[in-house]
Structure formats: C-alpha cells, structure tokens
C-alpha cells in the first residue's frame, strides 16, 4: 500500500545539486508526471557554472560513461552527442609490470563515452566540447525545470515542509526535497541535527589531473582505449588514464595520495610507455583531490525527502554516474507513482538502493582478491597470459577478458563477475595459466597491435 502523502498539480519540488543525479531526477520526474497528467514545478539549485573551465565549473571525475549507461540512456531517448562526448572508447588496456593486454568491445563498437564533467580544465581558451553536467542540466531545463544558480546554505522544516535558502534569495518552501549534492558538499552537514537518521556516506580521497597532449598525440598514443594500471607501487590501489579530446585524464586511487605517489606513478616505466618518449608532466596542470564514494548513507530518505546519487547510495569504485541515474530514476518513480512518505521510499526506492549495496559487498570482496593478485608477480603474469590468449583467438570463450571487462568498465553487477569466476573453463584456464606464470618470462608481454 502506498501512503496518502502524494504530490498533486502545482506541487513544488526542490532539487539541491545539478550534477547527474539532480538532472536525471528532474528530467525523469517531469516526464513521468507528464505521462500521468500531473503538473509539477521543479527548481534545481546548482552552485557551479558548467560553462566555466577549471574547478568552479567541474564535478571532479574520470568522466567515463559506462557501456550500460550509454545503452540505457539511448533507450530512454537521451543520446550523448559528439559535442559532449570527447572520445568514444572501444577498448580497455590493462597494464601491469609483466605486460599489457587489450580487451575490445564486441564488434569494435564505441560503446563507452569519455567526457569532461565541466567545460574543461583550467586555462582552456578554445572549448571544442560541451560540459557533460551542463548538457544533462540543459535537458532537465528543456523538460521544464527551473535552474536556480547559487549555493544552498540552509535547509529547515516549516509545518512539515522543507524550506530552502540561498545566500541571495528569499527562503522558498517546497512540497518535496531531493538532495543530490554528491559527497563533496558541506550541505550534508545540515542534516546532522535533524533527527532523521540520515548519516552521510563514507568516502575516500582520490587524485585527478588533466594533462594537455593535443588531439593528435592523444589519438596516436592513447587512441580510443581506456588505460588501466595494476602496479605494485606502495599506497597505490588503482590508476587509470582516460583519453579525452585534447587531454589525458589521470585518476588515482590509493592511500594518502601525495605528490610523491603521483610522481612514482607517472615515472613508472609502464606508465611512461603510454606517453610520448619526451613527455614531461606539466607542473601547472589542472588537478584536484575529490572524495570518492565508499559506503552508502544511512537512512537516505524521510517524509518529503530523498537522497540520490553519491550522497545516498552508489556503486563501489565504478559507474558512479550510472548509479546516479539508477537512484534518480528509482526516486522519480516512487515520487510520481507511489508517494513521498518515508514508507514509499522504503518500499520502492530502497529496492534499487539495496540491490546496489548488496552488490557492493561482493565488489569489495572481488577488489580484495584483485589486490592479492596485484601483489604476486606469478599471478599477474598468469592472468595477463590468459587474457592475451583469449584475445588472440576469434570465437574462443573469453572468460577472463569478460571478467576484467565487467570489473573495470562497470558494465555488469559485481554479482555477475563473481558468478563468471565459477565457470569450470574459467577455473581450469586460470589454474593452467597460473602454473605457467610461475616460470619467469624474459620480457613483458607487449600489446597486440591490430
């Protein structure tokens, strides 16, 4: 049974944050309401201006739009145009000290998008591409949402309804509030004393840097592949280099990332071989240290209130934008078709959230296994050998390739990755390649050129 607390014609919704979660939610809530003949007013509060290059207009991220999200958005009728997608990605390169291996998309199709969340890195003068977040926000605006430029610095409740305040404007009362501020916002602190049971998600610090290479160099050296690195560098968990139009985005995940760790990564011979031989990282390159979602928020909903995207529940280490899409859609569906009371969100919205939370637990386990593999040379060599063999033979079962593909692209739930590892051919192949991997090879396995 749904509650009696429902929106009606003329109801007002405030969405705090115009990142992916906020824009997706606004878009879907308005289009579902339209289908139901319900007229809603939606205001999106956003403090950033996505047309300004550099940190003021950027929601710091690697900018990979996963295969699944590209496909689901296309199904929804949202096409990501080439003025927003800087590079279509059709393969992943996994680099380890023992060699590198390429994993391609089926039919060499460009199924993954690489975007800049903002207008581009600081110092950019001639912007050739549009901001991804700006594009999504414009879609929500086209659907009828109002964009209120400014930071929300206070949220209170009057007569059981949320009231939103920015520095400049008058306080505004709404019938419903969707929080979509991500994990990097101080606004989440506003909920600490509200006795709603909400506890913000746990997060970890990361590092991102944008290096200018020029379009030709990006094409020649990085191509249309995302480069992932599993290296045995102390404190480094995982790193990726993502080709954009004229830039290469370096993303690093690890413990206490500092300049020493970044230098160790960039100076590693495995990383250097990805860049031109005479390339030196620019000291002044646009960089940031955003927080990354680690563990879900507690009680991300209440009467007339829901937390979506990173400030609620997301996916561990991958496809955060895809997770924002899912929670935004689940929240919009609850709001339009069920109701806006606590029990409506518990019953409907939380089904999608719990699915991700359960999957994240498996993900955490899988990443522990990856960490162990990363530590042992023979296992790194065994896995690399298995993928290289699979990729060479057309039509052969590509079990390890699929496992790694889904792990790094976020295409499938961790559950599916886990189930795949129980396939007898996978286990047989892995044991065989691990045994062979014990014998030391003389040189790195180079990437197979197409």
């Amino acid at each position: 049974m749904s509650s009696d607390l429902k929106l009606s014609d003329g109801s007002r919704i405030a969405v705090i944050g115009g990142g992916p979660a906020g824009s997706f939610f606004s878009n879907f809530v308005l289009s579902m309401a339209e289908r139901m003949g319900l007229e809603l007013v939606v205001d999106i509060y956003e403090s950033r201006d996505f047309s300004i290059p550099g940190p003021p207009g950027c929601n710091m991220c690697g900018g990979i739009i996963s295969e699944t999200l590209v496909q689901m958005l296309a199904t929804e009728g949202i096409e990501l145009p080439p003025v927003v997608v800087q590079r279509g990605v059709d393969s992943y390169l996994l680099h380890m000290d023992v060699g590198s291996v390429r994993i391609d998309t089926p039919h060499h199709e460009k199924r993954i998008g690489a975007v800049h969340r903002g207008a581009g890195p600081k110092g950019l003068t001639d912007a050739k591409w549009l901001s991804f977040d700006g594009f999504l926000l414009s879609l929500a605006h086209d659907k009828g949402a109002q964009i209120v430029q400014g930071r929300v610095d206070d949220i209170t409740w009057t007569d059981g309804r949320p009231q939103v305040k920015t520095k400049k404007g008058e306080p505004q009362t709404y019938d419903f509030l969707a929080m979509a501020t991500g994990v990097n916002s101080a606004a989440l602190k506003l909920f600490e004393d509200m006795d709603l049971g909400y506890i913000p998600p746990k997060s970890t610090k990361t590092f991102i840097c944008e290096y200018y290479l020029g379009e030709e160099t990006v094409e020649k050296y990085l191509g249309s592949s995302m480069h992932t690195f599993l290296l045995k560098i102390p404190r480094l968990e995982f790193a990726a280099i993502i080709p954009k139009g004229e830039y290469a985005t370096v993303c690093m995940l690890g413990k206490k990332i500092d300049k020493e760790l970044v230098d160790a990564f960039l100076n590693s011979p495995v990383v250097k071989q990805v860049f031109p031989a005479d390339w030196e990282p620019q000291e002044q390159a646009c960089h940031c240290s955003p927080k990354m979602y680690l563990q879900g928020a507690k009680q991300p909903f209440a009467d007339r209130l829901v937390f979506i995207g990173d400030c609620g529940i997301s996916r561990l280490y991958k496809d955060g934008i895809g997770a924002a899409y899912r929670t935004a859609k689940a929240a919009a569906t609850s709001v339009v078709f069920e109701g806006i009371a606590k029990q409506d969100f518990q019953k409907h919205f939380m089904v999608a959230c719990n699915r991700m939370e359960t999957d994240n637990k498996l993900g955490a386990f899988i990443f522990k296994v990856v960490h162990i593999i990363q530590q042992m040379r023979f296992s790194r060599r065994g896995i690399l050998r298995m993928v290289a063999k699979e990729q060479k033979k057309e039509g052969k079962r590509r079990l390890m390739s699929l496992v790694l593909w889904d792990m790094f692209t976020g295409s499938a739930p961790y559950r599916e990755v886990f189930i795949r590892t129980f396939h007898p051919y996978f286990i047989g192949g892995l044991i065989k390649n691990l045994v062979i991997g014990i014998w030391p090879a003389k040189k790195r396995i180079p990437v197979e050129e197409e």
């Binding site: 689901m72 199904t75 080439p82 039919h107 199709e109 569906t333």
Partner: protein
Amino acid sequence: MATGALGKIYSDGEVIVQQGKSGDCMYEILEGKVEVLEESSEHPLRLAVLHKGDFFGEMAIFEREARSATVRALGDVRALTIDRKNLLRRISEDPSLAFRILEKMSHRIRELNKKLVQTQSKSN
C-alpha cells in the same frame, strides 16, 4: 567519424540486420537513416524507412525469434547496439525503461493500421 561519436558507422547499402538470422541486440539510430526490407519473396518489399532516434531489431529481443526483416543502411548510418541481456535485466529492475519502446511500438501499430486501411480501400 568525430572522436566522440558513439556507436558504429555502417556505409551505404550495408546490411545491419539480416532477416532469418538470430539476434541478441537492438539498435538505436544516432545519425542517418535505414530501410527495413521483407525478403521472403523474390522482390524485397520495403516496409519502412527509419531515422535518427528510431530503433530497430527490438522484436528479436522480446520474442527470441529470428530477425523478421532485413535492415540496410541508406547512406552512411551511425547506430548503437543495445544488448538484450543488459536491457532485459534493467527492464526487470525498472519497468519504466520500456515506456519509450512501447510508445514507439504503439506508434508503429498506428502507422500499420493506417497503411492497412489505405491498402484495403484501394483494393475495394
């Protein structure tokens, strides 16, 4: 092809979907147009021309039967595949994802009805 163009380019006349073959994906047209051909008889019959924003190949996803028609590029076409498994899993989690597919299919039935009426009134 622009560096950021997603999907795959099919050149003029290229067969994207072959009637009678099995299929595990549907396609969304991102640029250009395609023709849908019924090839059971000696002279292929053009059933429809589809444009940017339209999709095709969805019947094989829902019915698990062989492709019911051939789809060929009319000029250069950029299209994106949508995997059956991905789509069905997501629809089972979020049935509203099928709204647009239903809308398009219902539009197609409406168009077919119109054509049927026209053909019948011509033959009467």
